[in-house]
Amino acid sequence: MKHRTRTTLALAGTIALLAACSTEDPDAGGGGGSAEGDVETGSGVTDDTITVGMLTDLSGPFAAGAAVQVTQTQAFYDRLNEEGGVCGRDVEVEVQDHGYDPQRAVSLYRSMAPNIVALQQVLGGPTSAAVLPLAEADGMYLGGHGWAGVALEYENAQIPGTTYSIEGANAVDYLVDELGLAEGDKIGVVYFVGDYGSNSLEGAQHAAEERGLEIVPQEITPRDTDLSAQVSALQQAGVSGVILAAAPAQLASLAGVMASQGMDVPIVGNTPTFGPSLLETTAGPALLENFYTVTSIAPYSLDEPGVEEARELYEAADPDGELGWEVPLASAQARLLTTALERACEEGDLTPEGVVAAMRQTSDLDTEGLFATPLDYTEVTEPPTRTVYVSRASADAPGGLEVLGTVEGPSAQSYTFG
């Protein structure tokens, strides 16, 4: 008896649900238009504010650098708002912390998406890889996810500069053209397992083929802070230069061990490899001797108006803060997004899709030195530039790096994506 009652109930419920179902969209074809003004708006935009998002890591391994970027971004928009904001509206930043956990990143993205018009930043490889497809489905502008080439698959992704692979190719070109390596030489590539490291390795491998050199790869993890075994292997292989796609701790170990083993060869690192506090470690002298870095974003010390402005903002916002590439990067990100927002406003479409479209219409964006060349975002599968800054470690320059110049080598030009 009891069983039958339950079954009946379940059936009734199912029927009720089915009856309530519909596959006709009541407002199919309708859009979320705005009645006032000529600007169409969607999520994250009201009559007086524009909300942009930062999905970053404030409690995980990259918390410190992420905090610098949050500070700088806030400072940037505070001043922008003082100067009148964008499209007659103030820009507000919604910051969420994913703690480097992809699951949290995806859930938090879902919570932010209805309230923001664009995501200025999703920090971290695994986290941005998890969020990118969702943002693409929503047509949401997504910046600051690092420089991995995988982002080129997405129309909504904005790359701040070029990819790690182009950086890697430029590093090889620079080693050959400026640091005296020749055809037949070997270059060690020490790289993190993951998209960052492997992307850099791909670029270096392409360049090595172009220039007739040989790559000796050594894969490491963020846990490896003693690179003795790797250095011995590189020394055994007889490399004449090393490219490093890792983090500061690995750079210090690499440089220190190489110096102690008497390996006097140049080390070229990607953007995230260097931190100014390294110069105070035992590896300091070795770094000053041999370390170069190829970066999409201008180093902290560069004397160009865009970078100077960033410095000035930062020093006002956090006088005791750490100095590094995060400062100009955050400024650049905010600036790129502001440009896109402004253009979207001009086009009368301040919806998330409108912002992506505006970004993709940007073909010749001057950043006053924040990037080495003007940026061109019109081609989805192409990075906005292939030129990078080359700097070397310096005890005097603020942020520990002094700029030597810019590079866009032949193999960086010939590198193809896809």
Binding site: P222, D226, Q230, G256, G275
Partner: protein
């Protein structure tokens, strides 16, 4: 040949440091039955203390404070948390330690930030060369000191009353307590020893060739888990031998990675675990583990 020897020396010295960590796992496990997932953050705490204190009070004083601090931290974790578990079993104790690990690591990460804190050791970036092998001085000292520490441990466990009491308590706590041995004390001693060993290991792991202290240092303790397991869970000797095996195998896998390419990239990370699983397939109790029949 000298290349092989260099990698071997690298591996052995690294292995001895792993041994220090693995012995800590063993001692905590045998004295209180806890799988100490917070061992890494205890290690990091010790090393962190050294790094921040070496400037104001000098390196050697900082080392003493660091070791004592890590030991004290271990004792406190045991006294305040482990002994107050609502339900004492290895599973809940292990999860408790995960909670402790998150606490410590979050706070330390916040304090360290994205800096690399130099440990300030007097041996700096020096290297020693003998017979064609170059080894960082810090590693040579670490290896020597590890051997001395293991000797002291042997003396402690074999020759002193307290050490024998700890072994007795580890072997059969119930009977040991009938002999008047206080298990709370042997437990505290175990945690203190493990903390001190971790701090020593941490100091050397943060010394050249590593640049200094970063939060990832805590993860190194996980690298000692295969050493501990393949040594046999409850054997101090096993942990040391396990450390050496893992150290050497890792160094050789990295050193000869280009010859081992058919096994895939990034061998250094997987090889310790592969070795561990292979050993367990042959000897499920590990190399030096006790195999004891269950009595009915």
């Amino acid at each position: 040949m000298s290349y092989f020897l260099t990698q071997l020396a690298n591996g052995l010295s690294y292995g001895l440091i792993l041994g220090l960590i693995a012995v800590g796992f063993v001692i905590v496990f045998t004295s209180t039955g806890v799988l100490n997932f917070a061992h890494g953050s205890v290690l990091l705490t010790g090393a962190y203390l050294v790094a921040v204190l070496q400037d104001p009070i000098g390196f050697w004083a900082a080392v003493l404070v660091g070791i004592a601090g890590a030991a004290l931290l271990g004792v406190l974790i045991n006294a305040v948390l482990v002994r107050n578990l609502a339900e004492a079993n290895p599973g809940t104790a292990a999860i408790l330690m995960l909670g402790v690990d998150i606490l410590l690591l979050t706070e330390l990460t916040r304090r360290i930030g994205n800096r690399v804190l130099p440990i300030g050791a007097p041996w700096g970036a020096d290297v020693v060369t003998f017979g064609g092998i170059t080894l960082p001085t810090s590693r040579a000292i670490a290896a020597g000191l590890a051997v001395v520490v293991f000797g002291v441990l042997w003396f402690l466990f074999a020759r002193t009353g307290a050490g024998v009491a700890m072994r007795a308590a580890a072997a059969d706590g119930d009977t040991a307590s009938l002999m008047g041995i206080r298990l709370t004390r042997t437990g505290a001693a175990g945690w203190a020893l493990a903390g001190a060993l971790a701090a020593i290991a941490g100091i050397f792991l943060a010394s050249f060739p590593s640049p200094g202290i970063a939060p990832t240092l805590a993860l190194t303790a996980f690298a000692a888990i295969p050493a501990w397991v393949l040594g046999g869970f409850d054997s101090v000797v096993g942990a040391i031998v396990g450390g050496l095996i893992i150290g050497v195998v890792t160094a050789l896998a990295v050193g000869y990675e280009s010859d081992l390419h058919f096994l895939g990239r990034g061998l250094g990370e997987v090889v310790p675990y592969a070795v561990m699983i292979l050993v367990l397939l042959v000897r499920p109790s590990g190399l030096f583990g006790r195999q004891e029949a269950v009595r009915v």
